[in-house]
Amino acid sequence: MSRLSSLPPLAAASMQCTACDGSTGHAPVAAFLKEARYAVEVLDVWCAIDVHWTFTITIDGPSELEFSCSLSPNASLVGIEMVAADGYTVRGVVERTAQAAEHFDDAVAAGHTAALVQLDPTAERLKFSVSRVTAPTDVTIVLHLACELSRSVQLHRPATADDGAAIESVRVMLPGSPLASGDAATHPAFPEWLSVNVHSAHSIVRVALDAKSAEGWRESQPATVLEAGTQATAAWERSADVRRHLTPALVIETAPTSPISSLLGTSRGWNAIDCDSEQQAQHLCLVLHRPYLDVTSTSPLYTELVFLVDLSGSMMGTNLDAARAALLACLETLRTFAGRNVLWNLVVFGSKHKRLFTTSRSVDDLEALETGEQYARSMTASMGGTVLLPPLTEICMAPVGEHSRQIFIITDGQVENEHEIIRFVRQQSAVRIFAYGIGNGVSSTLVRALGRQGVGSDSALLPSSLLAHSANGSELQSLVRNQLLEAMTPALLRLSISFTDAGHDETLACDDITPSPLTPLYAGSCSVVYARVAKGTIATSPSAKVRGYDAQRGEWVEFAVPISHRVPTTAHQLGRLVGTLAAARRIRQLEELAFEDGSQLAGEEIERLGVRYQLATSRTSFVAIEERVQQAATGALELVRAGMPVARPPQPPPSARAPVCLTSAVNWRVESLRYKRNEYFLDIAELQSVIMLARDASLVCHSLKGSIKAKCMLSGMPEVRIHFNEPLQHLFRVGYARYVARTLTYTRQKYARLTWVSRYRTQLSSGSPFQSLGYWSDEPDSTRWR
């Protein structure tokens, strides 16, 4: 038996970016990112991003490329293309995930070049598999992304009376580089280009690269600053000499024309054609906006703030320091709201929970604030597990009086009953929740869902390193202060929207108003609402009537928003943008619903929308297959392509070779292995320890150890894909299971006991993934009692 174990065999499964050779075995394989191009087109609060990543693969024969990249949570993948060096393009189509994976596997098995792109919504990553690339060649992967621009809390600038108008900043996040951070330092340098085209209803004040990521970039086309209604363009480039691999972020600042005193002055409506031509429908879209809070005002706010802080054992260390710093910054900020009718309280929770004060105290009570600060300084992470629902229920059920209640949740852990919590929060229509996740162990699904399902508008996942870094700095304090200001702002609650056409009094019949129910409209934030109407029902310019309850003034507010803008269909990418993003928003809601109840209907609807609007979702994936035809004369498979033959790219010098984790040189196996019968054995062996009472056989406790072993007797360089059911995946999720990926060093004597037992060999019914059943195992040792 050959023993080759210099690299763990499972490395291929865990790498960020790998290319594995299907032909040469131990020969080093190289795959490099040759260049990256980003083209960004911004339309109001939407954005279309084209990403071109060109990889160079310097081997002969078929190879496979695998990599992943991060994707911002409000972005959707709406298209992929695979372009060969000669310009031959294969476009990806969306299919149900299982179906796409099957087509991909079949295509690879049949010898076709194929690409599969799957979305991992929990990790917010896109996984790419490109198989059987006929290298040496360049392969360009083109991604088409659509996203709603997200505001960033750090960028909020509360307007003062002197400004007259607020500057609104948005940040465009590009998808992360396919290079893993560890690989970036050793990867050969490559050039990058970035071009931006901004269509805006407002004057654009500035288009720039984010200061943190602008290093090494040169402005190749200076940004134009233009008046409202036109467009601005800018371009940057980074030469290959500069060795850095951070993907840049764009910052676009626009100045609303309306003064701050004008309530809802900047709301606007858009009219877009649906990409679904069969249905003959149109999308109407409203961007509702309220100006920022005037902090100089002294009017009463009628707000109750409850800080719900996780003090479970896992908060110990930097997480607790970060939570403490955030809480102290909050309490410090509260002092500025003296005399404005603001109440506050602190609730800490772990396995149990306790309130600092029985009833909420006013911020005018300085003694209570000092007590709170004292408690925050001395609190320790000693309250056991993370049980969130009871304290949340108690806070929400307490009588609130005339105040509006806001809850700030700071947690670092995972809870077991996520579904129950989300279901409970969804029912609380009068409570606004801000959720902050600290550290790496936090359940991102829960934190995001809390922010969305409650009427709260915000949630944030904050790495503890960031918080620890800024625990004493001004960054965290400004973040918390801005969030508190937002929490204080009066909102328009119980929103309802009806669409009318000019000249007609009748309301337009529209379906699929997203989000449903409508979220409250808070000052300083944008709320985007999509609606779908049948094509032809709109004769002239439509408008929307928005009605909401102003809790601070105690009155209903009604205003009209003209839908006067039309999405330019001529502009590249923008024609279908709004319709696709409306579908993406609907899918996001359905995914939360499916996550909450495991609803089958929601899952089917996600699949339907994903396939119809060509969106990668949790249940749909992109697959692109480059078909080949069989030559009748020779029987050989040949690519159907036109164009110039591909030249072999120059080999990089040995010092500049890509790292092993990028190239995936398979040095634990040689390809020259040959077996007469190609067999693969899998064995799940468990050891269960049980303690029970002999009188009634009742269980005291039982534990389990298990191991999954394999025996490979396969020729050549095979790839094995193994799928296990939910229990094993659960064990990996909760950290009870781990990959070990090591070659066993059985002695010959031990190996001799791994005998094949032919009497268990039975044929399974057709359709089973197994052709036959059997087992080998250790014969039971002669039992020796201690």
Binding site: L4, A697, H702, K705, C712, Y736, V740, R742, P769
Partner: protein, 182 residues
């Protein structure tokens, strides 16, 4: 799990569950080990006679094999008689225990819940009853084609460029150690 496997034997994953109750839908143990002491004792000139019974049973249709049960007996035991229909039982004086061996299910048997019983008659050297023995009964056996964790293989696919036909073999078993407290 995607991998290019090394040739020969390898280990892919390990797992350890300290308390199976924490797992959602974890199956309950499909076996029982019970102890039935008899309250009747009798004495004669050579000593005191005491009796008890032990049962080992499966509650579900599982293939249990290689069953070994160790039943503690008092140190003052001077003689012992065992009666069982299946398997063998012997007195191991050096261990102060009865070792009961059962073959378990055979391949020909249809899978169904089953039960085995062992009757033991002890002869103790003194007339006064000894202090009750608190050592637990121990059992070791093997459950074929069964995973206590509920893990199942749902699919395997082997891809190789020459598209040769390959055979896949699959086996699972659970070795069980039971401590039954008296």
């Amino acid at each position: 799990m995607n991998l290019i496997p090394p040739d020969g034997d390898s280990e892919l994953a390990q797992y350890h569950v300290p308390d199976l109750e924490q797992l959602p839908n974890a199956p309950t143990p499909p076996f029982e080990l019970r102890y039935y002491p008899s309250t009747e004792t009798s004495s004669d000139a050579s000593g005191t006679i005491r009796q008890f019974s032990v049962t080992f049973a499966t509650t579900k249709a599982v293939r249990v094999t290689s069953i070994q049960v160790k039943i503690p007996v008092p140190e003052t035991t001077i003689g012992l008689r065992c009666r069982t229909d299946v398997g063998t039982a012997r007195y191991a004086r050096e261990l102060n225990a009865v070792l009961w061996s059962l073959p378990g299910c055979t391949d020909e048997q249809p899978l169904a819940p089953a039960a085995w019983i062992l009757h033991v008659q002890l002869r103790l050297e003194c007339e006064t009853l000894p202090q009750p023995d608190r050592r637990p009964m121990l059992a070791r056996f093997k459950l074929e084609d069964y995973c206590a964790s509920g893990i199942e293989l749902s699919g395997v696919r082997i891809l190789e460029r020459s598209n040769y036909k390959s055979e896949l073999w699959y086996h699972k078993c659970t070795n069980v150690e039971v401590e039954a407290r008296l």
